[in-house]
């Protein structure tokens, strides 16, 4: 099995894995970064969403070999020095979860969205997030959380 060096959450991590093993499997099962979730393995539910160079990416569809040159950010990499990002704080403030299993993927997708659109409309949020499934049906609160995070960011700060 080949060796890889991955840049995950600002740290270089060495991992040995088959080239075709998915990034999701490597993160969860070899690096014990279990905040990123398996939901379908087919890019249909968004639970596995991570950032590759800031862009939302389905880690269940990406072979680890394709991720070596990118800066990978997982849910574990958002909090800095005990401070949540505006999105993390907004999810808490809005109570935008029930079982919480989709939450990592939701926050990563929304992080990518807010990078491109600082003040997204509801339509933009729905369009950008429609690939993320919440089986508990918390969608209205998630939309509200993304909008709240946009406002928090505009006020310039972490939660």
């Amino acid at each position: 099995m080949p060796d890889y060096v991955l840049n995950v959450n600002g740290t270089r991590l060495h991992v040995t894995a088959p080239a075709e093993e998915t990034l999701l499997s490597v993160l969860r099962n070899r690096l014990e970064l279990t905040g990123t979730k398996y939901g379908c393995g087919e890019g249909q539910c968004g639970a596995c969403t991570v950032l590759l160079d800031g862009r939302a990416t389905r880690s269940c569809l990406m072979p680890v070999s394709a991720a070596v040159s990118a800066k990978i950010t997982t849910i574990e990499g958002l909090e800095q020095h005990g401070l949540l990002t505006p999105l993390q704080q907004a999810f808490l403030d809005e109570g935008a979860f029930q079982c919480g299993y989709c939450t990592s993927g939701m926050i990563m997708s929304a992080t990518s969205l807010l990078r491109d659109a600082h003040n997204p409309t509801e339509e933009q949020i729905v369009e950008a997030m429609n690939g993320n499934v919440c089986r508990c049906g918390t969608y209205p609160r998630i939309v509200a959380a993304v909008q709240r995070a946009a406002r928090l960011s505009a006020q310039g700060g972490r939660g």
Binding site: R28, L78, Q98, V126, N130, V133, G137, V143
Partner: protein, 710 residues
């Protein structure tokens, strides 16, 4: 053929046999684990009280001596319950109720849940039973603890206990203003108090912590990825397992060649009776290795979606057909004299729970004891399954349930736990099994499909006079009608289901509400009476009337005029102590016939509200989840195979399906709190169906109602 699996059914009929004894640590062992402080135990229950209130001799709470609550020397409180957190927010709502009765801050409480070695026996988390049974149970234990602490202080100060008060973790004597914290009172001693289940409880009108919108306990762990779900559990030296799946239901293995596994380093075939599986050092290898097994299966011919409902009607469960649930008067006579007669049939398809976290388990054998971390709504039920599978005693099996990625009634069973245990036993190491999405769609159980036939009669003035109702296979919950009908015959007919079926959030209630509330709407239309007015005219239950009126008011029902592409519908009902009324506005695309739900107003009442924010979240989520079964979710199957076992083929509700949702809560502090996890789902489908009819004049009678949307 799989029939209704009794262990997977709703509590209406579940678990009437005696449970296996609980090896909950004895009090001495418990105190060793917990250290100093006060432990509150419940005395064994008498035969009389065990059997009261539940039919069939079943019971919900343990019969043996059980330990429920511990206050340590620092005033920190541990609460032990067999209920599990699956997203319905009971870790928070139960702790609120304990904090209330014990007069301690919410943050001082830790809920220990779903660990069969630590918590009292529990039948499981389903049927919206946590709030009506576990809530009062824990409040009682907390009230007993408070009384005990007051007694200790009274003894210490030589004063009358009636003069003392409790607040913020301490007992105070108002006469002298002296006070002692709970920790000071126990002085680090190991104290055990066994109490009876009879304590005066704080009325809801006086609640300060219960009844308020306390945020989700440990919420921060869910936005940082720190929370460990069952599928996240990691053990040192753990291997990963995967089970070989047959090619269809009821298949027999004809031929197997496992040599393909040999090319995967570290992978090993494990064979135990009919079970074949693989363990490997990593998950990816385990999946590839199991796929390298060549197996040929013989799958017998089996039913498909075609003709399903005729099949269900003509294949009764042997010995399952019972007398009608409700009979009064004479339907035949009343039909003969009715001015309006309407006879219809309604159907619901099999649907999947599709919890976002599939079944998962980590199993570890150590010194003859099996410990399994797994996602289940029935930790004690899974313990029983493991005891049976491996011929173990209750003391030899421990099931631990980390707060999991939802269930919706779909995780009553312990398949992944048994697979992991089987693999770990042979491998000699801890093994983790995580089902794939395809496994979950195929090998879990489904919400039953069902056929409902209704015949009803109404007088010209809108008075219901006859109601005959037959439900084939979807289940008996909420099969009765809340409307006044003097002549009724209502019957559930269990069928031999071609697919494995079991519990589901609002199981039969969804089907029964869809059929009944659609039919009521049709009767109102023929009688030329407004559908809300027609319902109220035939309804005396004040609680159901109140939610109908509240929903109608908020929705502005009186002014809502349907057009050929905008429709408005209303529906409501009662189940599991919850009262619901739902109004929906839908938009029909004239070209594609696609249905878009634009707005939903839902009024809800379930007695005294424990956490209004958690309740709104549950109800709004139930509405969204209900959209799937209402409009497009349907399991496709043929010859023992599920044909759409992927999210790409089985559509679930997404952001773009979500309407504007408004929830109206009626807080009845004078009434006991009922559960709210399920019944919030049942009004949506009939309200949407009635709205589609209002717009198009075509009445949808089959769920899902808008396959065009899939």
């Amino acid at each position: 053929m799989n029939s209704f699996d009794q262990t997977l059914l709703e509590p209406d009929s579940i678990n009437t046999e005696r449970p296996s004894p609980t090896p909950q640590l004895d009090r001495r062992g418990f105190l060793k684990v917990l250290g100093g402080g006060l432990l509150i135990c419940l005395a064994p229950r008498s035969a009389l009280s065990q059997e009261s209130g539940r039919g069939g001799g079943g019971h919900e709470l343990p019969k043996d001596l059980s330990a429920w609550l511990h206050i340590d020397a620092d005033g920190k409180v541990k609460v032990f319950t067999g209920k599990v957190e699956v997203g319905q927010n009971i870790r928070t709502s139960l702790a609120q109720q304990v904090a209330e009765e014990l007069r301690v801050p919410f943050d001082s409480i830790t809920m220990v849940m779903g660990d069969t070695d630590l918590v009292p026996w529990d039948m499981g988390t389903f049927g919206s039973r946590t709030t009506p049974t576990m809530g009062p149970q824990l409040r009682t234990m907390a009230a007993a603890a408070r009384q005990t602490l007051i007694e200790m202080a009274a003894e210490r100060w030589h004063v009358d206990r009636a003069a003392l008060t409790c607040d913020n973790c301490k007992v105070t004597d108002p006469a002298t203003s002296r006070s002692l914290s709970y920790g000071e009172l126990t002085r680090g001693e190991k104290l055990v108090k066994t109490v009876s289940g009879d304590q005066p409880l704080t009325p809801a009108a006086e609640w300060k912590v219960a009844g308020t919108a306390v945020p989700k306990a440990e919420g921060r762990d869910f936005v940082t990825g720190r929370h460990k779900y069952p599928s996240d559990i990691v053990h040192p030296g753990m291997m990963f397992g995967a089970a070989l799946r047959p090619d269809g239901f009821n298949a027999t293995l004809a031929l197997i060649d496992t040599t393909g596994v040999e090319k995967f380093p570290g992978a090993r075939v494990i064979h135990d009776g009919d079970f074949f599986g693989v363990v490997a050092p990593d998950a990816f290898t385990a999946q590839r290795a199991v796929a390298a097994i060549e197996a040929r299966w013989t799958v017998p011919p089996q039913p498909s979606n075609d003709g399903l409902f005729e099949y269900l009607k003509s294949n009764p469960e042997p010995g399952g057909d019972s007398a009608p649930q409700y009979v009064s008067g004479s339907v035949a006579d009343a039909m003969a004299s009715a001015d309006i007669k309407l006879e219809e049939r309604y159907t619901v398809e099999y649907i999947a729970h599709a919890p976002l976290e599939p079944r998962a388990a980590v199993a570890e054998w150590s010194d003859g004891k099996l410990t399994v971390w797994t996602g289940t709504q029935r930790p004690f039920g899974v313990r029983d399954e493991l005891m049976q599978a491996f011929h173990l005693s209750a003391a030899q099996v421990r099931v631990i349930q980390p707060d999991m990625g939802s269930g919706y009634g779909g995780k009553h069973s312990g398949e992944a736990a048994i697979e992991a245990a089987r693999l770990a036993k042979v491998a000699g190491k801890p093994v983790k099994v995580v089902w794939t999405r395809q496994d979950e769609f195929t090998w879990a159980y489904l919400r039953p499909a069902g056929l409902i036939e209704i015949r009803a009669g109404v007088k010209q003035d809108g008075t219901l006079v006859a109601w005959e109702y037959h439900n084939y296979n979807s289940g008996p919950a909420a099969i009765d009608t809340p409307y006044n009908v003097p002549n009724q015959l209502i019957q559930f007919h269990p069928s031999k289901s071609p697919l494995r079926q079991g519990s589901y959030r609002g199981l039969a209630s969804t089907a029964n509400h869809f059929a009944r509330e659609s039919h009521m709407d049709a009767l109102a239309h023929v009688a030329k009476i407004d559908p809300l007015e027609f319902r109220l005219r035939n309804l005396t239950d004040p609680r159901l009337r109140a939610v109908f009126q509240a929903a109608g008011e908020k929705f502005n029902w009186a002014q809502a005029k349907s057009t050929s592409f905008i429709g408005h519908g209303i529906a409501g009902g009662i189940d599991k102590g919850g009262y619901v009324a739902t109004c929906a506005e839908v938009e029909i695309d004239p070209a594609t016939k696609k249905v878009r739900i634009r707005r939903v107003v839902q009024a809800w009442e379930c007695g005294a509200i424990i956490n209004p924010d958690g309740l709104k979240n549950q109800l709004s989520g139930a509405i969204v989840q209900g959209i799937g079964g209402a409009l497009f979710e349907k399991i496709l199957f043929a010859n023992g195979r599920i044909l759409n076992p992927h999210f790409a083929q089985y559509r679930v509700p997404r952001f773009s399906d979500t309407p504007k949702i408004e929830v109206v809560l009626l807080d009845r502090k004078d009434l006991p709190s009922a559960g709210a996890g399920e019944t919030g789902l049942v009004g949506l489908a009939p309200a949407v169906g009635n709205a589609i009819f209002a717009a198009t004049g075509n009445r949808p009678r089959n769920m899902p109602m808008a396959p065009e949307n899939s």
